[in-house]
Symmetry: C2
Subunit: 575 residues, 2 copies
């Protein structure tokens, strides 16, 4: 049997466009001689459609699209994610056979944690059908249905399914693919079954889907893998006879009572008899740093592209954050669509200016210069009567950051460019950023990347390129906001190599401060970090979206009240 996994990059809400793309891939799969082609979870609507699901016309239109796809699906079986409506809504997989909708599977395990809100929209499925095609039983399932060793896919295999097709929209975070492939291989081996895992690819607001669709044989070996972070059609031949032979040697499986599942018997396997089995393609997966970088590139490209911006504009400070964002933007969009702006203040150093210039040269992008001194002086003058006798403090620093934000937004308004912000996760966590200043913009590319990882990504980028993209001087100098004379980040924050592990454990894993100290973190750094995290929620609430690359990003992934008097015990005492 020849399988095709259509790892497509659709757009949420673009029902007609997604449908066109599905039909195009369906025809390519047919051209490759595939007997079955599978598309990702909610391929028709895009994922996640969120409250669009509450609009009846949206559901109706998605059903009309499914009919159109069904008509296009002759000569092969197509598995397509859509929203089913049967007095309630279901996250569903359609089994299209012979040009019609032959069967439907309803997702049973609805995620409602982290970034997911599926209980908000769907009723959970309760039926676990088997589809028998040409006498061979197959199981269809959606995403988390395969995560549980005793879940519906295990039942399908125990009832005789030789092939499990699992369709997904699995948001990326670092190293997630490793655990996923291990789990899928285990499910395949445990049940002596072939697992075909098709994943979505592309960016959608905060989320990136990494693709890397894969097929596992009945021994749990990964035998085919699609590209990461790119559309792909993965075609592979699977030996369903080998599954039967393997089961004859599995004493445990043969003793498990066969569950009685509803069976939908379809006709013969459509499409050509597969020719001599081809060796399947196993795309290499990127290394741990390149993986993050490519997620950021794809997330940025799709946010810009799907929201139809021609170009992006980035304030370049000569620092490492804006340098990385500019490099990502150039990889996402090409240098012609990226504009840098150097906005010096009275505190900007010559070194920073040189670094911003050099970066722009390395990337081949335009660099505008817009000094803020004139408006800064005018603002200080206007405020003077009200601020008389008061010392300069963060207020004056924020005014500078906000004037830069104002410039960038003026360029955005005048030329239609999207402003990319450059704050990293260390800053978002601690609130070391100016609301409406450096936080002003439409997309926060590296908001989920800790500062230490920013450095690592830049070094890796230069190493992979074999040349200097991020100027070496940018990598060498201590981080500074340059909003007052001789300012350094370490004046306000613990050093990043101390801070970041604290933030990672506290923000992403809810590790208690006392536990962090017990693990060896300096108590004062822990206390400062926790206090800053707790008091910055209001800033994060008004931040633009950015690419999630960790298990818990700020945004929909981590939902804390702004009004919140809770403080972990050790901080309460210390504060």
């Amino acid at each position: 049997m020849r399988l095709a996994l259509a790892q497509i990059n659709g757009t949420v809400g673009d029902l007609r466009g997604n449908t066109r793309k599905i039909i195009e891939y369906l025809e390519r799969a047919r051209g490759e001689g595939a007997n079955l082609v599978a598309f990702p979870e909610l391929a028709i609507t895009g994922y996640p459609p969120e409250d669009l699901l509450l609009k009846p016309d949206f559901i109706r239109e998605n059903l009309a699209c499914l009919e159109e796809i069904a008509r296009a699906s002759r000569d092969l079986i197509a598995i397509v994610g859509f929203v089913d409506r049967a007095e309630d809504l279901y996250n569903a997989a359609a089994v299209l056979y012979d040009g019609r909708l032959a069967g439907v599977y309803h997702k049973q395990f609805l995620p409602n944690y982290g970034v997911f809100d599926e209980d908000r929209y769907y009723r959970a499925g309760t039926e676990t059908p088997l589809f028998v095609i040409g006498g061979i039983a197959c199981g269809v399932s959606i995403c988390e249905d395969i995560w549980y060793p005793t879940g519906p896919t295990a039942l399908q295999a125990q009832a005789g399914a030789r092939l499990l097709v699992n369709i997904n929209a699995s948001p990326y975070h670092r190293a997630k693919r490793l655990g996923r492939e291990r789990m899928l291989g285990t499910r395949a081996a445990d049940n002596d079954v072939i697992v075909a895992y098709v994943n979505l690819v592309g960016g959608q607001d905060e989320l990136v889907f990494d693709g890397a669709s894969a097929i596992f044989d009945q021994s749990g070996n990964l035998v085919a893998r699609a590209k990461s972070f790119a559309e792909d059609l993965l075609v592979a031949d699977v030996d369903l006879g080998a599954v039967f032979r393997a089961r004859l040697h599995d004493p445990l499986l043969r003793k498990i009572p066969r569950p009685a599942l509803p069976v939908l018997t379809l006709g013969p396997l459509p499409g050509p008899e597969p020719p001599a089995s081809r060796t399947a393609r196993v795309e290499p997966a990127p290394g741990p740093l390149e993986e993050v970088y490519r997620a950021l590139v794809l997330g940025t490209r799709d946010y810009v592209g799907k929201n139809r911006f021609e170009a992006v504009v980035i304030g370049l400070s000569g620092g490492i954050d804006s340098s990385l964002v500019a490099a990502i933007a150039v990889d996402a969009l090409g240098p012609q669509r990226v504009v840098g702006v150097w906005m010096p203040s009275r505190y900007s150093s010559q070194g920073s200016q040189d670094d911003a210039r050099r970066l722009a040269e390395n990337l081949g992008i335009r660099l505008l210069t817009l000094p803020i001194e004139g408006p800064f002086r005018a603002v200080l003058e206007a405020l003077e009567p009200h601020f008389a006798g008061l010392q300069p403090n963060e207020t004056e620093e924020n005014i500078q950051a906000r004037l830069r934000g104002l410039y960038l937004m003026a360029l955005s308004n005048k030329f239609g460019w999207l402003v990319l912000t450059t704050g990293n996760k260390s800053e978002m966590a601690t609130g070391y950023a100016t609301l409406y200043g450096d936080m002003a913009g439409g997309f926060a590319v590296i908001k989920d990347v800790f500062k230490t990882l920013v450095f690592a990504l830049c070094r890796d980028l230069n190493a992979r390129a074999g040349r200097e993209i991020i100027p070496e001087s940018v990598l060498a100098k201590p981080p500074s906001a340059e909003l007052r004379p001789n300012q350094k980040d370490v004046d306000s924050l613990p050093p990043y190599d101390v801070l970041d592990p604290i933030l990672q454990a506290y923000v992403e894993e809810d590790v208690l401060p006392e536990e962090l100290v017990a693990r060896g973190a300096p108590p004062d750094a822990v206390e400062r970090a926790v206090r800053l995290v707790e008091r910055s929620e209001y800033k994060r609430r008004q931040a633009p979206p950015g690419v999630k690359i960790t298990p818990r990003a700020f945004g929909r992934d981590r939902r804390l009240p702004i009004t919140n008097a809770y403080r972990p015990a050790s901080v309460e005492k210390g504060g």
Copy 2:
């Protein structure tokens, strides 16, 4: 039996403070001779605690607080909302008797729609116990458990409960109380049972809880009601013997098989024998406009107070929105804690200046003046080389709005004042507002109030005060942003009396554009409104929180993707 409903205003996360308040009310109830006192849903943690629930120390601390409350609960029964932990989390009600935790009820119907995410945190309860106190059966339940005619509270009544205590944290929206009281009265009458409904009161980020706790007799009559929008201890005597007598006359109820529920038998009714029954207090509920106004006042007061701001600052334009926000702030905080700022531009009219002055006088608040002309000129000059040859457009309008935002934030930074923004729901819906400009601030008081309702609230405010608070000239003039010569809102938007009903139906009820036209709305206004709503999601995502007063507010209540290619059919064609 004497009941006390303790309608308290706690703070999310302030476990110790909430516990002190609960014990204080418990003692007051004891002083009033109550046999039973009930507190709102999640009274210990505050509602909603959101992802604080994922912190194990938070759960542990909440359990320690419950023990402390139990020890303080001698001589009366206390029903207290808390988070129970039993290998999983439950939204729970504790039954405290004789100084100890005697029983627990787990919420069964977990809301996971609108603003609610309870499936994210809790496992649903499955047991429906009866508590027998002094030989009399009572049912305890939480919030939506009483909404369903066949739900757990009906079972409790059918099994013999004469009193149903239902604890709540029910977020306010307009006119919600009416439907709630009707439903509760029906449940009481249907089951010949006394219903004691205790609600939370107070503001928490986007939400306001309106209180208005109430008791319904076995005929469904409302016999006691607590204050709306204020803390209260409602004490009332209920006649449980009358319930039994009524049931002897209910042929239907007597034929329903008695469900077998788990029974927890407690000792005698604690506390004094109630003296001769007192007539219970029925607080009047505010009228439809006053109700909204008081919700806005309470939401503002609590956001400011619970986040520990000393004062607020508001940009006063002389327009109706900022006038209403200033009036609300003064009612919430007193005139000493409210600062107005008049920030004229070259396009500001003398009339607007007079109106801002007059409003400040009427309210008795300070008014600062901060012209934006100097910085505006400096910014235009700096941008001139890049904008050469281009016509002024929205860019220059936004620069003015952003300079005002920058001024307000500078005042906020320097003096610690919270900036209140003044945009209304018509503006939030259509994106008729400047991100980082007039949208810059910590709390958006009227973001859920349509413009036509802004006018109505102002007129009602003046009428109730019996004097001019909002200047008559503000009410009379056509709305204008005054960002270019002779600008009027109607140049950019349909008239508000046409626009608002369209927005209301489209945003809050997902009514289709074609249906709106069929109902008589002008097609061009529908199309414009829908297109503006759909393209403004990115602005709303970065808006500050504000008080929810409608069934569907922007924010956590309405979750739409920013990247979203879906357009309702009639708009797609028209566009």
